[in-house]
């Protein structure tokens, strides 16, 4: 492997360790007791909201989808996600470039919308919605909402390293100590 390629590969592996954590606003819904995390950084706002498995099952169950499809996504740790262009220029992101980092330091790709819809198509369900789009180009004022999915058990803790591009410049940021939702809503 040429030296430059080796250097770039090493740099790519190190990036999640080197990225500074962004200032995170964490809040908890008093009704559901679910946490959410919101970061606004260099023209991009990203918010992740814990979702209960029961809720995820209900969303897909209400569409009449087969149990295998519902079980498939219910195995994942799912977050409601809101991505907003808060800059005054065009902005883009690619979920394929984002990584979640587990406490052992390992980095993992998120399962993308294309991967989900390909899987659902094989089950005979040509459904193309609900997951955060893989990549988007936002003009001023544009934003998007959808699920992001991480293959981790309930209540797992991890960091998210994500990137976006504004005016040709790519930025990378990190949200530390995100936590997957517990199995069920608290009993009252």
């Amino acid at each position: 492997m040429p030296a430059l390629l080796r250097y770039l590969a090493l740099l790519f592996l190190l990036v999640p360790c080197l990225v500074a954590a962004a200032e995170v606003k964490q809040s908890r819904n008093s009704e559901t007791e679910l946490f959410s995390w919101q970061v606004e950084d260099r023209g991009f706002s990203l918010e992740l909201v814990q979702l209960h498995t029961d809720f995820v099952r209900a969303v897909y169950g209400a569409r009449g989808f087969p149990p295998a499809l519902i079980d498939g996504i219910a195995e994942y740790c799912v977050f409601g996600t809101i991505a907003i262009n808060t800059s005054d220029a065009q902005l883009s992101y690619r979920v394929a470039d984002w990584r979640y980092v587990t406490p052992d330091g390992e980095q993992h790709p998120l399962k993308t919308k294309t991967q989900w819809t390909t899987e659902w198509m094989k089950m005979g369900v040509p459904y193309n919605w609900s997951i955060l789009p893989d990549d988007q180009t936002f003009e001023v004022g544009d934003w998007s909402q959808g699920f992001t999915t991480v293959r981790l058990p309930r209540e797992s803790v991890f960091d998210l390293v994500y990137s976006w591009t504004v005016e040709g410049k790519t930025h990378v940021s990190r949200i530390e100590e995100l936590r997957c939702a517990p199995e069920h809503l608290p009993e009252r």
């Binding site: 209900a58 969303v59 009449g64 919605w129 936002f138 004022g141």
Partner: protein, 196 residues
């Protein structure tokens, strides 16, 4: 069509054949059960009003879709009018948030040659009908059904809601990705310029 597709099509068909009254009752209950937690679990940011002008207006892809009364609407039927073409679904919180502003906008400008077409994605008409019945003001503009999302694909829609503003010649002039307050004075002024 694969065996799985056939099974799912049969499953969907069976669902669609259950009596309408019973389904509406069940779906209204489902809406209460599912949509309320959804509202509690998902947050919607304040809606803005920015529309992006396309650098080069392009012809809107033609379509023919049915509405809630199973009446057919073709894009060409609205040639000569300015069209707000909105892609939405009932499970999408910002879609639900922006519907009242679309209704207010429609009431304000419908006599001037303006129409709203709200194209629902992938949902059963009975489900949508039950949802609309819960709204404070039932939308008076056409709600159309795009059951396989073919029209959304033709317009390159990646996420919901996405909205396009078409001029009187059927050309797409503006786009908005994400929810908006459509009756904002700046949006009204933009539409009035297209109506001139």
């Amino acid at each position: 069509m694969s065996a799985e597709s056939r099974n799912f099509a049969v499953h969907r068909s069976i669902c669609q054949n259950v009596s309408r009254a019973r389904r509406q009752l069940v779906l209204a209950a489902l809406c209460l059960i599912l949509v309320q937690p959804l509202a509690a679990q998902q947050v919607v940011p304040e809606l803005g009003h920015t529309l992006t002008a396309l650098p080069a207006p392009m012809s809107g892809a033609s379509f023919t879709l049915q509405d809630t009364d199973e009446e057919t609407h073709a894009l060409n039927d609205y040639r000569g009018k300015v069209i707000l073409l909105n892609f939405w679904a009932t499970w999408c919180p910002p879609c639900r948030r922006e519907i009242p502003s679309m209704e207010r906008l429609y009431q304000l400008l419908k006599e001037e040659g303006f129409v709203v077409l709200a194209v629902n994605q992938w949902e059963d008409p009975d489900h949508v009908f039950a949802y609309l019945g819960q709204l404070e003001a039932d939308p008076s503009f056409p709600i159309l059904f795009d059951p396989e999302s073919e029209v959304a694909k033709a317009y390159g829609v990646k996420g919901l809601p996405t909205t396009f503003l078409l001029d009187k010649d059927g050309k797409v002039r503006y786009r908005a990705v994400g929810g908006r307050e459509f009756d904002h004075p700046e949006v009204v002024a933009t539409i009035r310029r297209l109506l001139e």
